[in-house]
């Protein structure tokens, strides 16, 4: 009886092997892929495609208003022996290294300072942000005036005080120009580092400091064994961004020196613009831009791998 009933039920509903399509329909990953497509399309369209096009252009002899022929590595071979390009690489490295190191040091110091109990703390924090809020071009023009060969406020003040007899040639001497532009970049970049690190400092639990104090730790030890290890991930992120921004800086240099005097302040970004857009050699400009990619990748890798490793974050004792 029961057999019969069972049999008839089985007859009615033959068990089917699910088709691949059925499996796909219920697969969460497959669904997820469709949900990700719009974002991926935007990324490909607005990020990967221009990047790929730029790299492709660097292998052609394209001029403005005319697509070029494929010429392989010719642009790169030419740049290898181009003293202006090599100088711009040197300038970019110098500019990035010096500015980033100082930005980090000053930024961290400011963050620690603002983290203390100060009078007017809120106002001070707002004031620190000002250089970051002012549009780059405006601050660049202001610095251009400050450094002007004839009308520099610094030269004028020192002259009035009787400390110097002639104007300081801020932007006319290669090394002066380099330090002057680096200083302007630091002035602009410090607030970003300081405020972000301050946000990181706020997240460190006070109980850790209390425990350390009870154990008799010196202020230096507290910084070295609590603040610094806990801040490391934020430092890595902030410095990566800071290095990327500095390495690709364009506006400050373009407004203040146009890459002069005698190309002493040309960065790769400004040289690329000058060659590609103003000079019309798109292919060569693209090659200079593409040459920046390895450096930028290296900067990203450092922080990426750094963030992956707890050992690096926590000062090496525990893996």
């Amino acid at each position: 009886m029961t057999d019969v009933a069972l049999k008839s039920r089985l007859d009615k509903r033959p068990i089917q092997e699910p088709t691949p399509w059925d499996q796909l329909k219920t697969n969460k990953n497959w669904l997820g892929l469709w949900f990700m497509l719009p974002a991926a399309a935007i990324l490909i369209l607005f990020l990967a495609y221009p990047l790929g096009l730029g790299v492709w252009l660097s292998f052609t002899d394209a001029k403005i208003g005319r697509s070029g022929e494929f010429i392989g590595l010719e642009n790169y071979e030419w740049l290898q022996g181009d003293s202006t390009f090599l100088l711009s690489v040197f300038n970019t490295m110098l500019y990035t290294t010096v500015a980033s190191v100082i930005k980090f040091a000053v930024g961290l110091y400011l963050a620690l300072l603002l983290n203390e109990r100060l009078p007017f703390k809120a106002i001070l924090r707002a004031v620190v942000l000002i250089p970051f809020i002012v549009p780059t071009v405006l601050s660049a023009i202001a610095f251009w005036w400050i450094y002007d060969a004839q009308f520099s406020i610094i030269s004028w003040t020192l002259k009035e005080m009787g400390l110097i007899t002639a104007n300081i040639d801020f932007l006319g001497d290669p090394w002066n120009a380099r330090w002057s532009t680096i200083f302007a970049n630091i002035w602009r970049g410090v607030p970003f580092v300081a405020i972000t690190l301050l946000a990181g400092l706020q997240t460190v639990s006070p109980s850790l400091y209390e425990a350390a104090t009870i154990d008799g730790a010196t202020p230096w030890q507290r910084f070295r064994f609590i603040t610094y290890p806990l801040l490391t991930p934020i430092i890595a992120v902030v410095m990566t961004f800071s290095v990327l921004f500095t390495f690709t800086d364009f506006q400050l240099i373009w407004v203040m020196t146009r890459g002069g005097p005698v190309n002493a302040t040309h960065l790769m970004a400004t040289l690329s613009y000058q060659r590609a857009i103003i000079g019309g050699s798109l292919g060569e400009g693209a090659a200079i831009s593409t040459a920046m990619i390895p450096f930028l990748l290296a900067a990203i890798m450092v922080s990426w791998f750094g963030l992956q490793r707890r050992k690096w974050q926590q000062g090496g004792e525990n893996d």
Partner: protein, 437 residues
Amino acid sequence: MTDLTRRTLVKGGTALGAAAALSGPALLDWAKAWAQASPWKPEKGAKLSMLRWKYFVQSEDDAFVKLIDAFTKATGVPVQIARESYEDVQPKASVAANTGTGPDIFWGLYSLPHLFPQKCVDMTDVADYLGKKYGGWVDSAVKYGKSGNKWIAVPICYSGALINYRLEASKKAGFSKFPDKTDAMLEYAKAMKAQGTPGGMALGHASGDGNTWVHWALWAHGGQTVDANDKVIINSPETVKALEFAKALYDNSIPGTASWNDGSNNKAFLAKEVYWTNNGISIYVAAQNSAKDVAADMDHAYFPIGPVGKVTELHLMYPALAMTYTKNPQACKALIAFMLEADNFNPWLQSAKGYLTHCLNAYDKNPIWTADPKTTPYRDVAKRSLTAGGLGSVGEKAATAIADFIVVDMFANYATGRENAKGAIAIAERQLKRIYR
């Protein structure tokens, strides 16, 4: 500055000058008649947009807007004008040429049209019409305007770059006028510096002031970037001589010229820091408004003649071109022809106060050039100018070499002592060879 009233115009000018005083309704009637008779009939429903370099003198722009309004009223074609700093017209035009969208007309500088000759509307009919009517084009304008045997742009005007110098200080140094030979100019620079009234010329990346004087210095000593067949010949004893001359000049200039951009010498001259420099008439115009004592005590001079014994000046030319992507090529031609007709061009030229110089010979008679003798030298800049690229073609290659500051950097490299002559020339030669390959 002498006041230019209608009366002085009629007295001092020719019939051409008198016609220049058309204004208001008379100008509109004339414009309507012109539109009727013009060989270029704007397309139905045409609209134009134009990107031009940003004016140096406000009055010039006012006059320009007036003539564009007259054009719109007469033809019914609205014209949208955008203005960009004159160095920024080129990148914008380049991008527009590349993407095939943007303003219909670009009014930029130098050999802009030669950066993308195949993207420019053929303007041969407009140039021929104007040349016939107004006494022909000056030589350099023909060279700038044509690519092969067709005109790819219409030369509108030049802005001269001549020597600006202070009279009192020069007299004190023993020079009643600015010297007209390069050797004497060195003596002049030395004497001026010795008495604490130095001058100087831009060696930074100043598209206008930097390029004009270094090319003059190179050519004045017989140096050339390329020969007539565009073969690079920068590496020559003449170039070395030019470099040595420039270094001597630099050593006897005010410090800081290596950082100067186009505006630096204007500021320094007006502030009585710099006593001789090269510039357009803008310093003089500004001085008349803000530093009358400087205006009274300054004058203009041609660039001195060098060892080659002939005029080797380079002045900025401002051509107008229409892009091939425009839907209204006839309207573009009509507008450009309209701008250069005497009834428009004469008052416009006057409004520019000598800053701009015509390149059609008939406009030599414009009263602006004689009303104030201090502006007279600027009358001849179009005639005196050589073209970008020197002996070579004025095409894309010359434009690229100028845009890339190759000659400026060569001079700056040597003058500031960064490189010896051989090294400075070698760098320039390598870059030129690539551009002219």
